[in-house]
């Protein structure tokens, strides 16, 4: 049920902007690793190319198809984690996950990603927003395991 939740909370301007004009969309020429995930029930698909050097994310590109939430979330992720130490981006992913699941204001500053908080009020859409973060975590676990 989405009673009480307004569409404006879901489709925040930041989200629609990333959906219409995705950042870092495409492929990288020499990724350290390429990781994919999908939500089989709805068909959302995301693939992320990562370049990780010395425990730091040097470059990110994503591609995929799916709803505005899954694509905007991927775009926001890609824009945000470039240049970030792997451990920090892991923390960020955890904070985003908690925010999406609880709807609470994140303890850590997540910046623009706060726009995704309204998704929590639409429980069936949470997995759309989480998809790219799951893929990122899976990639980092392989390329830069937590020490």
């Amino acid at each position: 049920m989405t009673t009480g939740a307004s569409l404006e909370e879901l489709y925040r301007e930041v989200i629609l902007d990333h959906f219409r004009d995705p950042r870092n969309k495409g492929t990288l020429p020499n990724p350290t690793g390429t990781f994919s995930g999908s939500n089989p029930v709805c068909g959302d698909e995301v693939t992320i190319d990562l370049v990780v050097e010395e425990g730091r994310i040097v470059d990110v590109a994503f591609r995929g198809e799916g709803c505005s939430i899954s694509q905007a979330s991927s775009s926001m992720l890609a824009e945000r984690v470039v240049g970030m130490p792997a451990d920090d981006s892991r923390k960020l992913a955890a904070a985003v996950r908690t925010m999406l699941q609880t709807g609470d204001e994140p303890v850590d500053d997540v910046g623009d990603l706060d726009a995704l908080r309204g998704v929590a009020k639409f429980p069936v859409r949470v997995k759309c927003a989480l998809l790219s973060w799951n893929v990122l975590e899976q990639g980092l676990n392989e390329l830069a395991p937590a020490s």
Binding site: T2, T3, A5, S6, L7, L10, Y11, L16, V41, C42, G43, D44, E45, E65, G66, C67, S68, I69, F122, V124, R125, C128
Partner: protein, 416 residues
């Protein structure tokens, strides 16, 4: 140009709605507009009352007890079977087996008939239009036996090509398993013609009637099929019960499926003998209440008249297709003629993913389905990851089609 409305002479949907308690609610502050009938239909008061009456007065196991309640339960259970048999044109009730749903009915055939008759190198002919429930059981059978699945394609008009079908049905074809009506495109397939082709090579035809039995008159003799699967919950009945109908000569060449109580004649240490049909295929305690409450659902449809049900849905199709075509950026998948489809309209709205459409429509109280509809081969043929699907039934009104169109206007404004 005048906007067509529906004549509403086939079915008085406003009156029908009063029998469906669930429809009188609001969702997100708006009157519920339920357009997800291809997934499951709503239940009239008559069916709900039958469920309650069974548990309040007649609850007992069937075919077991020599006591009043068991006899009452058994009588009603068998009466429901007989009514369902007649509903599809079969006089012999014992040719109808109650299952959990159409999926289980198809799996039953894949095991009980398929394991005995399909071998290495044999072919099972399917269509790209099938629901996963009419694909995966055959994949599992083909893997067990080394058989091969062959698919008839969907043309750009959303229809099967009978010439291709004629070429695909050959001496290796051991079974033809097709849907009567597509759950995505709505396409109603020419079953009688296809069954005629299959008959010439001696291949039986399994008909997935999950999307047709609720919406149009189904007659097994006219269709010429050998097996027919359906689900009660898509035809005003409760969840948890479906049925398999099989032709007498096919039943005679089938092995048991699930073993257990109720399906045996005599049990010895190493061997058993089997009860006659239909009991042979109803091992264990069935979903008694649901099977019994299926009868008033069938009765409800009979009283409306299946030809009227069909006419009502054609009118809703025509209105929906016309109104959707008037919106910029809308593509309607499948046959464009309202008569060529069951009450199903899948569409795309340029630049907006079906899940976003469904979420926004939900905030307007409009329930549609967005996704692959358990028909990924259809999605691949259409070249889309998902579609938005509105599907209609006896209680839907012209006003509700307008609510859908208004909701899509809101989608356009959000994604403008």
């Amino acid at each position: 140009m005048s906007t067509p409305t529906i004549r509403g002479q086939a079915i008085n949907a406003a009156a029908v709605r009063r029998d469906f308690p669930v429809l009188s609610q609001t969702v997100n502050g708006r009157p519920l507009v339920y357009l997800d009938n291809a997934a499951t239909s709503q239940t009239p008061r008559q069916v709900i009352d039958a469920l309650v009456r069974y548990y309040e007065t007649d609850n007992a196991n069937v075919h077991r007890g020599i006591h009043a309640l068991s006899m009452r339960a058994s009588d009603q259970y068998e009466r429901s079977r007989a009514r369902l048999a007649l509903f599809i044109g079969e006089r012999k009730a014992e040719h109808v087996v109650f299952t959990r749903n159409a999926t289980e009915a198809i799996n039953l055939v894949a095991h009980a008939w398929g394991d005995r008759h399909v071998g290495a190198g044999d072919e099972i002919l399917l269509t790209e239009m099938e629901h996963h429930s009419n694909i995966v059981p055959w994949q599992l059978l083909a893997q067990r036996k080394g058989a091969r699945l062959v698919y008839a394609h969907i043309g750009s008009d959303g229809q099967l090509d009978l010439d291709e079908m004629r070429e695909l049905i050959g001496p290796r074809t051991k079974l033809v398993a097709i849907t009567h009506a597509s759950n995505v495109l709505g396409t109603i397939n020419p079953v009688a013609e296809i069954a005629g082709m299959a008959r010439r090579v001696g291949a039986p035809v399994l008909l997935d009637a999950a999307q047709s039995a609720p919406h149009l008159a189904v007659d097994i003799e006219a269709l010429g099929c050998d097996f027919l699967a359906l689900s009660a919950h898509k035809m005003l009945g409760p969840t948890g019960v479906g049925a398999l109908w099989a032709r007498e000569e096919r039943l005679a060449e089938m092995d048991p499926f699930l073993g257990g109580g109720g399906m045996i004649d005599r049990v010895d240490e190493q061997m058993s003998t089997w009860a006659p049909v239909p009991d042979r295929y109803e091992a264990g305690t069935p979903s008694i209440a649901d099977a019994i409450a299926f009868e008033p659902a069938i009765e409800y449809l009979e009283q409306l008249g299946m030809d009227n049900v069909r006419q009502h849905e054609i009118e809703l199709n025509a209105l929906a297709i016309d109104r959707l075509h008037s919106m910029p950026g809308v593509t309607i998948h499948g046959p464009q003629s309202p008569e060529a489809r069951a009450g199903v309209v899948s569409f795309a709205l340029a630049g907006v993913h079906p899940h976003d459409i469904a979420t926004i429509l939900d905030t307007e109280g409009v329930a549609v389905r967005a996704g692959h509809h358990c028909a990924q081969l259809v999605m691949r043929r259409l070249g889309v990851p998902a579609t938005t699907r509105a599907s209609f039934y006896v209680y839907n009104t012209a006003h509700e089609i307008e609510a859908l169109v208004e909701g899509l206007g809101k989608v356009r404004r959000v994604f403008g």
